[in-house]
Amino acid sequence: MNNYKKSAMYSVPDGFFAQVREQAGRKAAAVRTRRRILAGALSICIFAAIPAIWYGTRPALDTGLQQGSGECIAELSELYDYDVFLQLNFEQDEE
């Protein structure tokens, strides 16, 4: 337990520490309630935001992928002879 000495000249009103406990508990409970409300609001925002972001970015993602694959084919066709490239693709398809 705590060791401490009191100063004889200082005193407190009757029931002061019970009042401190009650007040401290009340203030902490108010903070806890505010935190819970904030956490609830935040989770709603996250759950609402995930599909919105997903459906919002998906068309852009698809376009990006299409463009990316188109650029890749163009680069390959420059590197290799186009006929060889087609032949390679054709052989792969046959497999």
């Binding site: 705590n2 401490y4 000495k5 520490f17 406990r21 401290a24 203030k27």
Partner: protein
């Protein structure tokens, strides 16, 4: 145990010693009450950060010390010796105990840091390692500060007796 439960345990265990620690520093009951509530609330807000529960005591004292330092900065040391000269008018202060008044006045001649170290060591009976955790100073220098504070108090009391 829930965070709230743990917090109420801190309130039960430390609110009284914390109050007296703050009170000796700031003297006024009303200010001590405000700082104590502020300290407890700050402890609740930051309680989730506490990993090592063995350091809980020094942790709450550290919060209180920071609040006291802030008080001194904003209030420009209202509780200096000059302020104590008329503390007969203050609430919940017994001026009949002359020896105790002298001792408190002697403590008030110390610098705020010396007061903190002296009060934590003498009244709250904290170990130097605990005071080190509260103040952030090394134990070696704290021993020197405590020794100097004690010497200063003794000298003040001797001079007052002349």
């Amino acid at each position: 145990m829930s965070l709230y439960g743990k917090y109420m345990e801190i309130v039960d265990r430390y609110s009284e010693p914390l109050y007296w620690y703050i009170r000796r520093m700031v003297v006024s009951h009303e200010d001590a009450q405000d700082i104590l509530q502020d300290t407890l609330l700050a402890a609740y807000r930051k309680l989730w950060q506490v990993r090592d529960e063995s350091k809980l005591k020094s942790w709450v004292y550290r919060i209180a010390t920071n609040r006291i330092n802030r008080y001194f900065r904003t209030k420009a040391r209202e509780s200096s010796v000059e302020g104590l000269e008329d503390f007969g008018g203050m609430t919940y202060v017994d001026t009949s105990d002359k020896a105790e008044i002298k001792l408190q006045k002697a403590i008030k001649t110390l610098t705020p840091f010396q007061q903190t170290v002296f009060n934590l060591r003498y009244y709250d009976e904290l170990g130097y390692d605990e005071i080190s955790a509260v103040t952030g100073s090394g134990t070696g220098s704290l021993k020197v500060v405590y020794h100097n504070a004690k010497e200063k108090i003794i000298k003040y009391l001797e001079d007052e007796q002349l």
